[in-house]
């Protein structure tokens, strides 16, 4: 087995200047390895640092210490904790996808355009992008009458499925998911589960935070539990 990503003694501290230089710990001394093609779940109480770890890998947060060794298709071995911004942007475009627990939409861009853009950015031609975006929206059971409207007024579950469609239409090598099922009903969860299984078959590696533990058990190979600041591999049931 080859490691796709190796997190080594990752630290993230936030220094809040407006609050008397207060230091807030996001995560401390986190180490774990994810092999190529593996699906990993991270669990832990709210506030334990799960999202912080994911955001450090995506580099929305700049780590304060430690290494994140990522074996890239494009660059070979890269330390995501310190790689130049331009390298991160290329990796986000070509290799690493992320769906956050807070949903992003682009103002005045229809649902269909939002998913298409993800493919156009990668150089896909317009016709193919449109076709694949429509397939993805259909896969995620987003009602067709919504495709040509602005997502601003979508329900939480619809926005979430849209964000998942946008991320998954790309077939990333590494997909980071932060609570992708938080606002989904049972039927939508089943759809997401199917999509995740397809990604598995396509060779994607996944690191996910799931609040629904049954759901998590049904998709991941291994689980890490964040407890008292430590990352421990959970025993297989």
């Amino acid at each position: 087995m080859t490691a796709l990503i190796q997190v080594d003694q990752l630290d993230k501290t936030f220094l809040m200047h407006q609050f008397g230089e207060k230091r807030i710990t996001g995560c401390r001394d986190i180490s774990f390895t994810v092999n190529k093609g593996e699906f990993i779940g991270i669990t832990g109480q709210s506030g334990s640092g799960k999202s912080t770890i994911i955001k450090c890998i995506y580099r929305t947060y700049l780590p304060t210490g430690g290494l994140i060794r990522y074996s890239s298709d494009h660059y070979g071995l890269v330390n995501l904790a310190e790689a130049p911004d331009r390298t991160i942007l290329t990796l986000r475009k070509e290799e690493i996808g992320y769906v956050s627990q807070f949903l992003s939409i682009m103002p005045r861009m229809t649902a269909l355009e939002f998913v298409m853009e993800s493919l156009l950015e990668m150089g896909e031609n317009g016709l193919t992008a449109r076709k694949r975006a429509k397939e993805m929206l259909a896969h995620f059971n987003l009602r067709e009458e919504l495709w040509d409207t602005y997502p601003k007024t979508f329900s939480g579950g619809e926005k979430l499925r849209l964000n998942l469609a946008r991320a998954m239409v790309r077939r990333s090598r590494l997909l980071l998911l932060d609570e992708p099922t938080a606002s989904l009903d049972q039927a939508s969860k089943e759809t997401v589960k199917e999509r995740i299984h397809e990604l598995k078959a396509a060779g994607t590696t996944l690191i996910g935070i799931f609040h629904d533990l049954d759901f998590m058990e049904s998709v991941v190979d291994r689980t890490y539990k964040l407890q008292d600041g430590l990352m421990k591999e959970a025993q297989k049931k």
Binding site: M16, H17, K55, T60, D85, R86, I88, P107
Partner: protein
């Protein structure tokens, strides 16, 4: 001209712009008191203070900071509206990136302004001749770059106005009578006339009504997607920066205090001033 994508298109190093003569007390920027760009002895303003950055093909780089932080001075230096006090800038497709454009002759600078850069000002009165027709404004720019054929000029002007969604029927009207949003769109079409690889946009949506602002921002996004023009977007508004830019530089009192991926600047700001800015975001 094709160029290697991993190389920056525009490289700016140690750019400094001083308004005033300077004195011994402020002759080295690092001697200025922290948090101030006015020399207490001679009153000189160090508007842009030792700024370095790279701009790559197809990207939009954001520059954010409060008014007075030096953003406009910086882009005006790049467009030769201001003469720099110190520093260099090179363009990969100009003299193979070996020439400091600030040191070039005025004739060469004119060439760079007409062929390699476009500028859109916050105030359309600076960027446009308000009494000329819209078509005439574009023609001026085309002629400056050596296009003299009248048919060619009219065809290109129509194409450009169309592109920025100004009805071609209004081509012969003067921007003076246009709304603020339309004036900005005419300015953008003029700046794009000669397909410059670099576009500088200085607070182009500031002061416009929200719906008008939205249309101009959408236009900028569309241009970037379709033409891969590299842009520097200057704004005091983090909302504008968030919508347009992958990378962002934060300026305060002439200095770059923080630079990074835009989502990182917004979610994990490091400098006290950036934290204040982000927490002021609506």
């Amino acid at each position: 001209m094709i160029h290697d994508e991993s190389r920056p298109l525009l490289s700016v190093r140690h750019l400094t712009k001083r308004f005033g003569k300077g004195c011994v007390a402020c002759s080295h920027p690092e001697q200025l008191p922290e948090g101030n760009n006015h020399c207490p002895h001679c009153g000189t303003v160090w508007a842009v203070n030792d700024i370095s950055f790279d701009l790559y093909e197809g990207e939009i780089l954001g520059i954010v900071g409060e008014s007075g932080s030096g953003k406009s001075s910086l882009v005006q230096c790049l467009y030769f509206d201001n003469t720099v006090t110190d520093g260099s800038a090179t363009i990969a497709t100009y003299q193979d990136g070996t020439a400091n454009i600030f040191r070039e002759s005025s004739q060469q600078k004119r060439y760079i302004r007409n062929h390699l850069m476009g500028m859109v000002y916050q105030n359309p009165w600076i960027g446009l001749r308000m009494q000329f027709s819209s078509g005439g404004n574009i023609a001026e720019k085309l002629i400056a770059a050596g296009t003299f054929n009248v048919h060619e000029i009219r065809a290109r002007a129509k194409e450009l106005l169309n592109h920025v969604e100004i009805p071609v029927t209004r081509m012969d009207e003067a921007p003076l009578h246009f709304s603020g949003g339309m004036q900005q769109r005419v300015q953008i079409s003029k700046a794009l006339a000669n397909h410059p690889p670099i576009l500088l946009l200085d607070e182009v949506t500031t002061g416009l009504d929200l719906s008008v602002q939205a249309r101009v921002l959408d236009l900028i996004r569309r241009i970037q997607r379709e033409s891969r023009t590299a842009m520097i977007v200057v704004s005091h508004d983090l909302g504008v920066i968030r919508m347009l830019c992958d990378r962002t530089m934060v300026m305060k009192e002439g200095r770059c205090i923080e630079a990074g991926l835009t989502d990182q600047i917004l979610e994990d700001p490091h400098h006290a001033y950036t934290q204040l800015l982000v927490h002021s975001l609506l």
